[in-house]
Amino acid sequence: MNAAGAVQIVVMTLVAGFALGVVLTREPLHQAIVFALFGLVLGVLFLVVQAPDVALSQIVVGAVAWPAMVLFTLAKARERERRNGRGRR
């Protein structure tokens, strides 16, 4: 086992852990943050399997685009629920 292999094992374990975190965080607002971290770690995994092109797009997409869209969606849904008086019919 060389150094590259050791780094790969560590990063793969992190990806597995964060994936579990994404699923088990039931509150979407908190989940968006865990999800951004998952995206970052996934980008690092792509980097250590020698895929810098993919890592570049994954890191930007995972850390910027996804969380932003999720936050905007939640903001809209919350505001609408507040306006309609707790939302539920």
Binding site: D53, V61, A65, F72, K76, R83
Partner: protein, 250 residues
Amino acid sequence: MTTRARFVLMAAGIAGLAALLVWGTGGLQPFGHGQSKYAAYLNANAVHQRHATNVVSAVTFDYRGFDTLGEEFILFAAVMGVTLLLRSQLDERDDAPRDRAEGRRAVDTSDAVRVAALGLIGPSVLLGLYVVAHGTITPGGGFQGGVVLAAAPLLLYLSGRYLLLKSVHPMHALDLTEGTGAGGFTVVALTGAAVGSAVMANFIGKGQMGSVFSGGTLPVFNVLVGLEVAAGLTLVLYEFLEQTLVVRRS
């Protein structure tokens, strides 16, 4: 069916699927060994054939360019779907109540965030353009650079200059840019069929290796995809922003 029975069924299904997948991946080459002949051929020949040092870029826009043409239209269709769905929800603006309680106002963005975001707009645009332009040489290209470029309007929003962005009515410009990217990509792809041998054929001179203009049609495709991805993603983010701002302004 009770919730509990459903849960047991789901757990059994997922466990069975996982077992199947573990068994199935056992038939693959062990991790880190073996490589397809196609990959070996490309790694050995792509640089000389296309004058592109980034073989991934050469595969994306040349060897497997037809796939990318398809992906391009998935992107285009998805952006169109988002726009249609979200614009139809804009009509909620008018029935918004005016009696917002004082204590419920959204917290203002701190000056530190504003300054940092404002200062980061320039570098992110520069980085995006650099990544798009050097796609055939170093890691990067239209897809990655386009995403970086789309982060800039988001920073503009964070810096509190969103109304500035809105005052230039970017929607039509974004529609137009996205269409130009997708349409231009198709035109260049079809020109390959007319001038060269097949759709996506690389019909421009390959240029000096390592130069920004090397790779024939590769940099052209990179720029067009960069346009489309940047405009498409900005449009999507802008539509989502419009949604939240509609309610915030009221």
